[in-house]
Every structure is written in structure tokens, then in C-alpha cells.
């Protein structure tokens, strides 16, 4: 993408004289700014969605006053945060206090450099993309420890220590789970991982249910691995139910206790950037990234018909169980199915890969994270460690070996 952008810049007559290296640097800067803009806008939108989702799950309405249905609420909040006083505690370690949030933010945003949003839309197509993301995102814990230590506050320090322990614990199962996928693909390149998941095939290779070739349907082991990765990643980004570093009821706000205004906004930004990153990574590694779930346009027609059938059954089920008529899923799927059958162009577009599918998949994973957050109670510290070391780590190791055996059984690899 940077190469394309540099060539595009040099294609203008006015700018052709600046030389390739300058154009390269300029496009680097533009891409970085684009990524940061994506992260910032994404955080604003996600905060609004999260507040609405939590409100709906708790029979509330959420923000309603600023803008229509409160859509401008988070914009107003962001403006307020920018205007707030920049407070540094008197006895804080000022250098670390100032640097900490930026370290976290940079670590969160830098991971987006390797995320492929479509086959061309990615900043850096590196052959160690997965490794890069895992390693850079673990720098976040450094910033959290810096912030917690610099605050000179017992809650902040507790939060930072818990965060460090938790993130280091969950790095291991997450890494091993990803290694299982890498074992299937044979590459750390994210584009290679996505291209490996093109087309459709049988569920678990033998069960005759036509499903996309995504790795979540590759084998029972990778099916479990997807959920293991989701749980581990939830812990890694400090979201509920693994939010003990900033547990409001015990530590005031954990490592963020002493922060206010812009620095606090940076924490928030990085939190949602991390959530988005996890969602994107799950959709890349297990859900086929920017690949369409339909192989071709006939596949799209059949797929949407099946979805409509499922929606009809769901509607009848809800009607029989609760007496209510839920028309939205049925109506939406019916409209899409009719569109797919009536307009072949739409069906072809639905069957073609693109950023649309990437965002749809990542959005559903983010919704799932929100669903987790507003359903589950927080784990205790010892329970957290128990889950990490005694449940998730053995499971991920079993998955890694199981995937190897599965591939030998299905003949994907031969010795």
C-alpha cells in the first residue's frame, strides 16, 4: 500500500520532482495518520456502541440526549476530555507518568500496521505479520506497568502488577493457539493465512455440510482453538470478565486511577484499539479475514436462502416460546435473499472478497466481546491464574498436537 501510495504521489506532475525516497516517507506518514484516524474514530464509535449494547442488555436506553439517540454523546465526551485539566500528581514519577499512556497507545496503534483489511489495503505486508502483532501488542503491558508505578498510588500499582501477571500468563496460551494455525498454513504472513481460507469445503473435512474454508471449520481442534484464543485475547486486552487490572469495585480504576483528561483518553483509545485488534485478528486467523463466506454468486444465493430458512425457524421458535413476533432477523434476511436472487450483480458483490467482510466479521467479534463484558462477572485473581495455567494452556497444547494429528489423518501433510 505504501508502494502504491508513493507511486500515486509521484504520478502527479507537480510532485514528480521530489524523488522516490521523499514520496516514500510522505506516504509512510499518510498511512500512519490514516491508521491513527481509524483507531480514533473507531474508539469513538465503539464507545457509543458499547454504551448502547450495555444499556439494551440491562433494560436501559443508554445515551439519548446528545444528538439523535445520543449518537454525538461520545464526540461530546471526547471534546470534554481534550479540554480537561492535565493533572500530574505531586509525588508521581513525572517522566514515566507522561510517557506511560503514549507507550500503550503506540503499542496498540503500531499493531495495525500489519493488519490486512483487504488484499491490497494493508500498511506493511511482512512475512512475520502474526509474530509482529503478538510481540508488539505485548509492549502494552510495559506501558501499563510504567503508568501504574509512576502514579505512586497503591491502587495503580496493584492494577499494574495484576495486569502484568495476567498479560504474561495469557500470552502463552494465545501464542500456542496461534501456532496451531501457523502449523496449518506454514506461514506467519497474514495475507497467506487469509488466502489459505478461500473457497468452501466440508465441515471438518469429512462432515458433508458445505461451509467456508475458514480455519474455525478446519478441524474440531481449531474450532476449540478459536474460542481459546478469544478467551485468552479477552484476558490480554483487560476486558471483562478479565478486567482485574482496572476492577472498579476493588481498585478505583486500577492503573488509570491517577490519570485524567487527555492521558486518560489515551488509555481509553488504546483499550478500544486493542479490542478492535483482537477482533480483527480473530477474523483473520479463524474467520477468513476479507474472504467472502460464499465461493461464487450461486453460493451467495444458496447461502442467503439457507440463512432465511434459519431465520424463519428462529422466528417460529421465538413465537412458540415467548409469544412475541421478532420480525427483524426474518425481514433482514428476506430482503437480502430477494436482493441476491433478483440482482446478480449484488450476489457477485456479496461473493467477492473485500474490506466489507473484514469489518462485518470484526464487528461481530467486537459485539461478542461486549456481550461477554455485560454478561460475565469478574474473575478473582487466583481464578484468573487457574483458568490461564490449568485450563487454557493445556487446552491449547492439546489443540496444537491435535491439529498436527488431524492434518496427518486428512492427508494435508505427508511425512
Amino acid at each position: 500500500m505504501i508502494q502504491l501510495l508513493a507511486n500515486w504521489i509521484l504520478s502527479f506532475d507537480v510532485l514528480s520532482g521530489i524523488g522516490f525516497s521523499v514520496a516514500w516517507g510522505l506516504s509512510l506518514f499518510i498511512v500512519a495518520a490514516l491508521i491513527f484516524a481509524f483507531v480514533a474514530v473507531n474508539a469513538i464509535v465503539l464507545v457509543y456502541i458499547e454504551r448502547k449494547v450495555s444499556a439494551f442488555m440491562q433494560v436501559r436506553l443508554g445515551p439519548m440526549r446528545v444528538g439523535k439517540f445520543g449518537t454525538l454523546q461520545t464526540v461530546a465526551d471526547a471534546l470534554k476530555l481534550l479540554q480537561k485539566e492535565d493533572i500530574i500528581p505531586l509525588l508521581a514519577d513525572k517522566v514515566l507518568f507522561v510517557v506511560g499512556p503514549w507507550v500503550i497507545l503506540i503499542a496498540s496503534v503500531a499493531t495495525f500496521a500489519a493488519i490486512p483489511f483487504s488484499d491490497t489495503l494493508l500498511a506493511a505486508d511482512m512475512n512475520v505479520g502474526l509474530f509482529y502483532i503478538v510481540s508488539i501488542s505485548s509492549i502494552v503491558v510495559l506501558g501499563i506497568v510504567m503508568a501504574g508505578w509512576a502514579s505512586n498510588n497503591k491502587w495503580s500499582l496493584y492494577g499494574a502488577m495484576r495486569s502484568a501477571a495476567q498479560m504474561i500468563s495469557y500470552e502463552i496460551p494465545v501464542g500456542i493457539t496461534l501456532i496451531a494455525v501457523v502449523a496449518v498454513v506454514g506461514s506467519l504472513n497474514l495475507q497467506a493465512i487469509i488466502q489459505e481460507q478461500a473457497g468452501t469445503g466440508n465441515l471438518f473435512h469429512w462432515i458433508p455440510i458445505p461451509l467456508p474454508n475458514w480455519f474455525i471449520f478446519h478441524s474440531p481442534f481449531l474450532f476449540i482453538a478459536a474460542f481459546v484464543y478469544l478467551i485468552g485475547a479477552t484476558a490480554e486486552i483487560n476486558r471483562t470478565p478479565f478486567d482485574i487490572p482496572e476492577s472498579e469495585s476493588e481498585l478505583v480504576a486500577g492503573f488509570m486511577t491517577e490519570f485524567s483528561g487527555l492521558r486518560w483518553a489515551l488509555f481509553f483509545l488504546s483499550e478500544y484499539a486493542n479490542a478492535t485488534l483482537v477482533a480483527l485478528l480473530v477474523s483473520i486467523v479463524f474467520l477468513g479475514g476479507w474472504q467472502s463466506p460464499f465461493a461464487d454468486y450461486e453460493g451467495a444465493q444458496i447461502g442467503f436462502s439457507v440463512i432465511t430458512l434459519v431465520a424463519i425457524m428462529w422466528t417460529l421458535f421465538v413465537r412458540a416460546k415467548t409469544g412475541r413476533l421478532s420480525v427483524y432477523p426474518l425481514g433482514l434476511s428476506l430482503i437480502l435473499t430477494m436482493a441476491v436472487w433478483l440482482f446478480p450483480g449484488f450476489a457477485i458483490w456479496m461473493a467477492s472478497p473485500g474490506i466489507f467482510w473484514m469489518l462485518i466479521k470484526a464487528g461481530s467479534i467486537i459485539f461478542m466481546l461486549m456481550w461477554f463484558r455485560w454478561t460475565f462477572p469478574r474473575l478473582r485473581v487466583d481464578q484468573l491464574m487457574y483458568v490461564s495455567w490449568k485450563v487454557i494452556l493445556p487446552l491449547s497444547l492439546i489443540n496444537l498436537m491435535g491439529v498436527a494429528v488431524w492434518m496427518w489423518l486428512t492427508g494435508e501433510i505427508q511425512f
Partner: protein, 315 residues
Amino acid sequence: MSYFSNISNAITTLVDGMKVTMGYFVRPREHVTLQYPDEVWPIPTRNIGVGEIESYNTIRSKLVVDFEDCIGCKACERACPVDCIDIETFKAGPDEDIGTTKNDTKIKLRVTSFTIDMSECMFCDLCTHPCPEDCIHMTPDYQFISNDNVKLEVTPEERWRDRDHLIYQFSKVTPIERAQRKAEAEKVAAAKAAAMEAKKAAAAKAAAAKAEQEAQEAARAQDTTAAQSENGADPAPRITETPVMPSDPALINISTPESTPEPEAVERIEVPLENITSPVIPEEQPASSEVNEEAETSIEPEDSSTEERGETENG
């Protein structure tokens, strides 16, 4: 194998919990927070046998005055148990036409200030019934928040409450006009005071001459001086009998609206002035009983509402 049963138990319970929250997520939201300024609960109405439901609601809330119909009789002010109504009136000139009420009653008093302190009001409804023109009434409007920052002149005693927005001013008289009215009243009072001064001086002179004459007569008659002077000083015995104590101004002022304006006003205005100039010895002055009652009312500090007091202060 409690290890695996624990894990399966965890998974099933987590899925159960997720089902519950998803059920609430997709459920239509019926019983949720009321979006207050946009939607309000309906006010319950109940016919209690007096009037129609619309006009006589059981909810008694914000007091409203139809100010065009107010004649300044202060009946509501007197009826108020918590003294939250404050009315200031000035007498209209003889050739001034202020207007008539909806009952065709001629308005004789110019109401320059009509404030109701809703932070003190206890919604007892007692002020609405004495009103002869039915111009003060309670409305079911219970929302006292407003955007208009009406800054009223409140006394220092009232200022601590910091509830200026709950003091409602119904008179549309501007502060400038109010000051003008005050100045006019002062001018009239000053003129009358001057006339009274002259009259008083003459009376005092006459009294002194008479006393001197009587003293001479008494000396001649060899009687006690006290008896002589008491007989000669004043024909009104009630002055000494009337105890000087803070009496209820409302009781004294009951006759105020009905009294004919012009001649009595002259009488009434004179005496408090006199009282202020020499408040210590009211018995010495030649004064009628009515005059003395008026003097008592003007002495009281709480009597901020009476018409006479406004004029005496100005004087």
C-alpha cells in the same frame, strides 16, 4: 473428574448467562427510563366535587396570578400562612385610570410589585379563596425549572436561600417605573408632611398658649398641675389606654381597600410622619384614635407589606 465437570459446568452456565443478556438485548424495550423533558407522566385527575376536573385539579402546584385582574387588595397576602406573597401598591392619582378587571371592578391601586416565593409556598390553596376577583389560582404545573434567569431584587435576608428563580414576579412594572412611583409617592408624602408640619406647629403653639393660660388659671385656682394639664392636653382618652404592642397589621388593614381614598389618606399619611419625627412621646401629640393605630402599624419592622408603610418610609 471434578476438573472436567468444572469446565463443562462453567461453559454451560456462561452460555446460560449469555442467553439471558441476549434475550434482554433483542427484547423490545417497554419499561425503560422515562425521557423526562420529552415525555412526562400524566397528571392524575380526580373529581372531588368542586368544579370541573380541568379547573379544580387535585394537584395544587405553581401559583399563578392573572395580573390584569389584580386590584391590589392584599387579601391573598393576608391569607398566606407562610407569608410567601409580597405585594407593593401605590395609590393611583385622582385622574389616573388604571383599568378595570374582568368583573368590571375599577382598579384603584397601582400594584408595582407582586412576588410569590414558591420556595416557601406550602400549596395550601388558602390564598385563592379570599381573592375577590378570582385572579390568583393554583395550576397543576409542577415543573419549576426555567431557562429565563429572572434576577429579582431580594432582600439580604432572602438572599441566603439562593432560590431567586423560585420567586415569581407577576407585576409587569419595570424597576424604573417602580422607582418613579416611589418618587411620586414620596413627593406627595413630603407635601403632606409639610402641610402637617405647619398644622402641627400651629396646634402646638395653640396648645402651648392654652396650657400656659390654663397653668395661669390653675395657679390662680391653686389646683394640682397634673390634673389640670391632663384635662387640657387632649380630648382623646384612648391614647393612654391603647397598649403600644405589635398588633397584627392584617387586622388593622382590613378596612383599607374599602376606605374612600382621598380625605382619609391625608389624615393617615400625616401621623406616621409625626410619629417618626417624635416617636417617643405619642401621648403628648393631639391625635385621634385612628391616627394612633396607624402609628402602631408603622412602628412594626415586619410590616413590609402595608401601603402606609411604603409611604412612611418614603417620608
